[in-house]
């Protein structure tokens, strides 16, 4: 019997999968041609052209996937296999996929030149990236614990390899190993949790689990707790965050940018689905857990970020803190809350990729600009990079009218709306903790503009920066996104049709909200 398959539902994922499979072949093919110099093509093509071709091919696939995702956004929910609906391509999936694809496209554009700068320009980078991306896209779509776990592993394993991509660097190796061990540990916990949930409810489907969920049953609760711990590791939420600074610091800069954004987007997407669908009956018990995770992540992340001297470590702690902000959306648990979280993921992607792009640009001959003080005088040597970095920092700090402020605004309004509706003080306390943390975060976000604009560059140490055209494009995209989402969040992307980002986030959230 022919299975009832719908390939068009997963067409963006197919684009990515095809890329992940074809890219290593393409690389080998091109390398052999260049080596042998037999054919006409082999004589004219050199290494640089080959790597450019790979980048163009990758970006083309990703853009096609993005266009397809955005173009089908308003369609009703589609399933790949109706008989076994392990993945659901609904608005939530499409929204997450769009953000993931944006993150991947920007990362690829920055990476080509960056990889050449660190002497690691190999095609498998893009293949690994796409494989991981495929895992992420599936993760957000998974409606089944088996699929969830498979997607999680498909996402994680290539990322471990990417973290160690700079083979010659001890730190990069350390980063990969640490991420691998901790990541496996988290996966194991998650898998154990899945097994327990299956044992307690007799099903792996999220919707069915909700039906069989018994808050009195310790087995169910333990299963749910282990699944949540697994997710908490992936989103680097305090107290499961210790790996983040080391891994972020050691990994190649563009990989760090990808990790900090895409992994978070995918993990939060899946978390929304698990919490809102599968574990919905346990919402009241989980509320307390998420409340504390959010408060701890925000506070510890921000306070620890203040004392960092290394830019990447600082951004790592900042990402822990932002994870905490996003958890507020999970705590709220209404459509507004999830919409706020999804919108936050989108703006967070632009801000974070922008910041890491600046750091990537400043890498020369494998020497990274690691310390914050190394950015001194950047406004003279590379004014545009300094402006973008400043925009990213102000936006991360949530200063209006930049995009990051809107993210916080929607999280806050979601929390307060729910609090006023049910008269719940703890959500107001959460909102106050959030804004107070924004104030704490200023202490380190403001340091970068201080260093870049208010200190003089120090002789030979002054940051040298000549960005490639693609990297400059990424800077422009991030800067424009941060400013335009800030000024006209309702009418952003009006050029490409009437995309109301906030409304889209609400639609996406409605897919899973009660």
């Amino acid at each position: 019997m022919m299975p009832n398959l719908d390939l068009s539902a997963i067409s963006p994922m197919i684009f990515v999968a095809v890329g992940a499979i074809l890219l290593p072949l393409l690389e080998v093919l091109l390398a052999r041609m260049i080596e042998r110099r037999r054919s006409w093509l082999g004589r004219t093509v050199n290494r640089e052209m080959a790597s450019t071709a790979i980048v163009i091919f990758t970006v083309l696939l990703l853009v096609l996937a993005l266009l397809r995702t955005v173009g089908t956004f308003d369609l009703p929910v589609a399933h790949f296999n109706l008989d076994h609906p392990m993945i659901a391509v609904d608005q939530l999936t499409r929204f997450l996929n769009a953000v993931l694809l944006i993150s991947a496209i920007l990362t690829v554009l920055v990476s080509s030149r960056y990889l050449a700068d660190i002497g690691m320009d190999h095609g498998e980078f893009y293949a690994l990236l796409l494989a991981s991306l495929l895992g992420m896209m599936l993760l957000g779509a998974a409606t089944d614990l088996i699929m969830l776990f498979l997607a999680l592993e498909l996402m994680s394993i290539p990322i471990y390899a990417l973290a160690g991509f700079q083979r010659s660097s001890l730190k990069s190796n350390e980063s990969a190993l640490k991420y691998f061990i901790i990541g496996s540990f988290a996966s194991a916990l998650l898998l154990y949790g899945c097994a327990l949930l299956y044992g307690a409810t007799g099903t792996v489907e999220l919707a069915e689990i909700a039906r069989g969920f018994d808050p009195e049953n310790p087995l169910t609760l333990l299963g749910a707790a282990l699944v949540l711990v697994g997710f908490a590791f992936k989103i680097a939420s305090v107290p499961f965050h210790q790996w983040a600074p080391d891994v972020y610091e050691g990994a190649p800069t563009t990989v760090t940018g990808f990790m900090a954004t895409a992994v978070k987007v995918a993990a939060f997407g899946a978390l929304i689905r698990v919490v809102a669908v599968g574990l919905q009956p346990g919402a009241e018990i989980m509320y307390g857990v998420f409340w504390w995770l959010a408060v701890l992540s925000m506070t510890v992340g921000n306070v620890m970020a203040i004392i960092q001297q290394n830019t990447k470590r600082m951004l790592a702690y900042s990402s822990v803190a932002h994870g905490g902000y996003m958890l507020v959306g999970i705590c709220v648990g209404t459509q507004s809350g999830y919409a706020g979280l999804l919108f936050y993921l989108l703006v967070y992607t632009f801000m974070t990729i922008g910041a890491f792009t600046v750091l990537a640009i400043l890498t020369r001959d494998g020497r990274e600009v690691s310390r914050i003080d190394d950015l001194a005088g950047l406004h003279e040597t590379h004014p545009f990079a300094a402006i973008v970095m400043t925009l990213c920092m102000f936006s991360l700090a949530g200063i209006p009218p930049l995009a990051g402020f809107w993210g916080k605004w929607y999280l806050l309004t979601g929390a307060v709306e729910r609090a006023t509706a049910i008269g719940d003080t703890s959500l107001i306390v959460l909102a106050v903790v959030l804004v107070m943390n924004s104030a704490i975060s200023l202490a380190y976000y403001l340091r970068l503009p201080v260093v870049m604009y208010m200190r003089e560059a120090r002789g030979a140490d002054r940051p040298d920066a000549t960005a490639g055209a693609l990297q400059t494009t990424v800077l422009w995209v991030c800067a424009l996104a941060i400013v335009l989402i800030g000024v006209v969040p309702g009418d952003f992307l009006i050029l490409f049709g009437d995309y109301d980002l906030i409304a889209s986030a609400r639609v996406a959230a409605s897919a899973v909200s009660p």
């Binding site: 200063i399 402020f405 806050l412 003080t425 804004v435 403001l446 208010m454 109301d500």
Partner: protein
Amino acid sequence: MTPLAAIPDGLLLSVTVFWPLAVVVGLLVLEFFSSPRLSDRIWRAAAFAASLVGFGLTLEVWARFDPTVGGMQLVQRTSWIEGYGINYYLGIDGISLFLVVLTGFLLPIVLLACWNDVVKRTKQFVFFMLALQTGMLGAFVSLNLFLFYVFWEVMLIPMYFLIGIWGGPRRIYATIKFFIYTMVGSLLMLVGIIVLVYMHRAEFNVLTLDYIGFAGAPGIADTTVRMSGDVWWKTQTWLFAAFALAFAIKVPMFPFHTWLPDAHVEAPTPASAILAGILLKLGTYGFVRFALPLFPAAALEYAPVMITLAVIGIVYGACVAMVQGDVKKLVAYSSVSHLGFVMLGLFAFNLTGIEGSLLQMVNHGISTGALFILVGMIYERRHTREISDFGGIAHVMPVFATFFLITTMSSIGLPALNGFVGEFLILVGVFEHYPWAAVCATSGVILGAVYMLWMVRRVFFGPIVHEANRKLLDLSLREKLVASALVVPMIWIGVYPSTFLRPMDASVRTLLATIEARGGETGSRLALVQALPEEPPVPEALPESGEPAQLDRLDRLDEESGE
């Protein structure tokens, strides 16, 4: 007829607010396309010309302002973000009018004063100054709480760079402290705003952030906020606290003032002048515009606390100013003291007190702005601000000494100069309800005279002890222009304050009526408001033809002081 008259009423405020930003963006575009690059001189000249036009625009706003109307005028409202109640909504009334005019007035003066001083990164300097101007003007005329919050925060960024790049040795510490202090307060206010929005929605079933309802629609200002009987964070007390903290830090009121001396001392002259002249007024403006009418019962309940803090601020600021060796620091602490007076008047809850406060905001903007500019002039010559490094300056710089003395007198409240009118009205207003506060505050006036005059004596009179002071040049023509422009309004307000007080009347009466009505609903401390004496009806005619009661009081006052 000026060309400005061609701007339609509905757009005038927008044009006024965004004019400086438009100019600077235009300059950036020109800079981008022109080859060779534009010179610093062109940027400076363009900025100065733009600031003059900007002042013209604020005067045009004044000219079109109808003083008999108590509500908002020159209103413009369009939807900004559909479906979330976030509108682009501007308007002006008698409370904000003169703050807008003051903002327009100070910028060209400040730019002219620092014409030759800022030599480093002039273009960036001009950019931040003009961007700051847009932020401040926008905050004064925003009628949508969201819009207000955006402008309120946006202002911080240019000021942060102005202090951080062109400031003194401890500039980075000062600028970060300034930024974080202000943010802490305003973020709590943000939560307060959102709580109000959802309370408003629960009551009226519309989601809006409009502070004053447009065309009869309910605005946030109409929301019922109880004193008790609700969850604690929905009560007036806590919401008032959230708003008051934001504004008190900005003012700054007594325990929250520590960022001010640092920021003032480290800031470059133009930034100090703008900071003292206008930025601080946003705090007091916030109290009048938002905190008092939204939460009148809580404001009345905690008025003694606020008044006590204000009085402590007055006396403490004056005492600390007295022992400063640095002129700029002295002026900074005098700001703490003077703004204490403004707060005092606001919490008197009567026409005299509030109008006095509003006038005193303008006065302080002019006098303290002028003091900072004058201190900047001498700093450029001697590169020191230590009082002990001067002495006998009046011998070598007589013109400078004259202007400085007039400004000092205005600052300490000599009759016939502006400071006197404001302080007197405030004290009269406060005396009505809190005589003890008025008595204590008066000692601040005396202390003010002590520290200012003592400083003037040590700097300007006596023998010249430092050789370096012997060769100082007196003011140039440019500097004389700057100083004269500042002295004109000091004398004007001092001699004929009605020009400025009359347009405020209608709006302040509306404000008091709102406070009384809303305070009445919550039924707390109502007696205080009702005990207000019956104020004379709003004069129908313009001030020139009418015989306003306020003026009589002032005339009597002038006679008394003349004796």
